[in-house]
């Protein structure tokens, strides 16, 4: 099952990642697929990116974790996850039995953490790895690797030594020079870039109860439609600095968003926050994209992409 004209091949030299559609559910917004099965048919998805997995199980952050803002939300989940061992034992067989393509999203605090995770991914011959070097919600590691081109290069090189399949690096927008990070990622040996992760944000709600002010605040990662212009800018910057395939994300909710991201340089897409509002969004967008291609007599997604990129 699926939509033939959406077949997408992400390719870097001899390394490829073939997916049945360019629409991927973003990490942390789709769990490990099991939670969504009541609501939708994931047959039309290209893939899902798993919840960020660490070596050990993590309970995540204390206190409020979600804060809604206009056209977006702030989260500070703090990488709560089952840990790699449980993932391999309990979640991997489900994904395999359902024939769902996935990117294993990994995060760590030290280079050694990432090396071990990459080694395990290789051992189980996981087809694609998405390295999270940009989680703004954990105190140590992670983001620090992602913001310094030298340490990012070193980290990616080490992961590459341990992992031979398709290596994707998820970049942070919380930088003043994403081009240098993209270049470091490519030089480190990655096959693909996904971007952008959430932006640092602070949500404050303050109310007067008649006697005193009461406040609630959450500091974390901002996502949703409000970050789209920043994401588009970042994707264009990345495109101008590397030829690696790009999986773009940041506020995608509709078909025209996909076209905009293609023009900026995207080869595939991830849908994040929108999954929370509309569980069927990935399926809906895949069907809509496929219909558009068919109705307008494009051969397939690849041809549509090239046509959009020719737009002056």
């Amino acid at each position: 099952m699926g939509l033939e004209n959406l077949k997408t091949i992400l390719k870097n030299k001899e390394k490829t990642f073939e997916i049945k559609s360019p629409i991927i559910a973003a990490s942390g917004t789709y769990g490990y697929n099991d939670e969504f099965q009541d609501f939708i048919d994931s047959n039309y998805f290209g893939a899902i990116s798993t919840k960020g997995i660490t070596l050990e199980k993590r309970l995540g952050n204390e206190g409020d974790r979600i804060f809604e803002v206009q056209n977006g939300m702030i989260n500070r989940i703090g990488l709560e996850n089952v840990g790699i061992e449980t993932f391999i034992k309990e979640k991997l067989p489900i994904l395999k039995s359902k024939n769902i393509d996935f990117l294993l999203n990994i995060a760590g605090s030290t280079i050694e953490d990432y090396e071990k995770l990459a080694e395990i991914a290789q051992k189980y011959n996981i087809k694609a790895l998405e390295v999270n070097v940009s989680c703004p919600n954990v105190k140590s590691g992670c983001l620090e690797f992602g913001l310094n081109p030298d340490s990012l290069f070193k980290l990616i090189s080490k992961i590459r030594e341990n992992y031979n399949n398709f290596l994707i690096v998820k970049l942070s927008p919380n930088t003043n020079n994403i081009k240098l990070l993209a270049k470091a990622t490519e030089n480190g040996g990655a096959d693909c870039i996904s971007a952008i992760n959430t932006l640092r944000g602070l949500g404050i709600k303050i109310q007067f109860d008649g006697q005193k002010f009461i406040k609630k605040s959450v500091k974390g990662g901002l996502s949703g439609p409000c970050i789209k212009p920043i994401a588009l800018y970042m994707i264009e910057e990345i495109r101008n600095s590397t030829n690696l395939p790009i999986i773009a994300m940041g506020g995608i909710t509709k078909l025209s968003d996909l076209f905009e991201f293609i023009l900026a340089g995207a080869d595939a897409f991830q849908i994040g926050t929108a999954n929370f509002i509309k569980p069927s969004i990935c399926t809906d967008l895949a069907i809509e994209l496929s219909d558009f291609i068919e109705k307008n007599n494009f051969k397939n997604f690849e041809e549509l992409k090239n046509k959009i990129k020719e737009t002056k």
């Binding site: 942390g28 917004t29 789709y30 769990g31 939670e35 969504f36 009541d38 609501f39 919840k51 309970l59 995540g60 206190g63 409020d64 974790r65 979600i66 804060f67 809604e68 803002v69 206009q70 056209n71 977006g72 939300m73 989260n75 989940i77 709560e80 949703g224 439609p225 926050t273 999954n275 929370f276 509002i277 509309k278 569980p279 069927s280």
Partner: protein, 240 residues
């Protein structure tokens, strides 16, 4: 049979029933729902869906009660009979009904799941007593056996527990009330079931945004209010 899905439902009744409070009946193909479960409504003017306790379910008709608080409920309050809404349902785990003399405690809009629970218990001929508390008479939502206006419902519970030989407490409302209920249930050594509330993003257990801490077999674990709850055993909850 698992009937969880994304539904379109028609509003067949919407009225203001108390100060800043509305009641809405929604007709949809939903086949089953239990007291304590909730629905998550898409509101076009907000980023995230809004969760609402089911206040009754009969013949495919869901009743919800809501208090005008922000943008989401503003959208809902402007809808009319005949309008359609998009919602996910039935979500979460409801109350586990026990054949015991039951005390139901609802504070404020927390009365919503208590009304559904009371109806369920009545159908099963389980003896029950619903007490609710509201800040003012204008906010009073009818349907209780006893209503406290102003002051906490907590001060009125000792007497009821003793006089009516209560064997289990069910509750929904603001955190201080719920915490008080778990303390009372410990004091009288009777079980309690608590419907929790927390800001949610996905409402189906994916994002891990609405986490509370539970003590299970001597271990602290995370539980999501939307999927593992919203109803928890009072004795399991670790309060902030």
């Amino acid at each position: 049979m698992n009937t969880k899905a994304n539904f379109k439902g028609e509003i067949i009744y919407i009225e203001k029933i108390a100060k800043d409070t509305c009641k809405m009946d929604i007709s949809s193909p939903l086949k089953q729902a239990n007291a304590g479960q909730f629905i998550s409504i898409y509101c076009p003017n907000t980023t995230l869906r809004r969760p609402f306790s089911i206040a009754n379910f009969e013949n495919h008709i869901i009743t919800i009660l809501f208090k005008l608080k922000g943008e989401g409920t503003k959208y809902l309050s402007n809808l009319k009979k005949g309008d359609y809404i998009d919602f996910l349902a039935p979500l979460g785990n409801g109350f586990t009904i026990e054949n015991k003399k039951s005390l139901l405690v609802g504070a404020g809009i927390g009365i919503a799941p208590m009304i559904f629970l009371k109806n369920t218990l009545n159908k099963k001929n389980i003896e029950n007593y619903l007490i609710t508390g509201f800040k003012s008479n204008e906010e009073n939502i009818k349907g209780s056996d006893e209503t406290i206006i102003g002051g906490s419902v907590l001060y009125h519970l000792d007497k009821i527990i003793k006089n009516k030989n209560i064997e289990i407490i069910y509750s929904c409302g603001p955190m201080p009330v719920l915490k008080g209920i778990t303390e009372l249930s410990k004091k009288y050594n009777i079980p309690s079931q608590i419907a929790m509330e927390k800001v949610m993003a996905c409402s189906i257990g994916v994002c891990r945004g609405c986490i509370i801490k539970l003590m299970k077999n001597g271990k602290v674990i995370n539980a999501s209010v939307c999927k593992d709850g919203p109803v928890f055993k009072g004795s399991d909850i670790i309060w902030d």
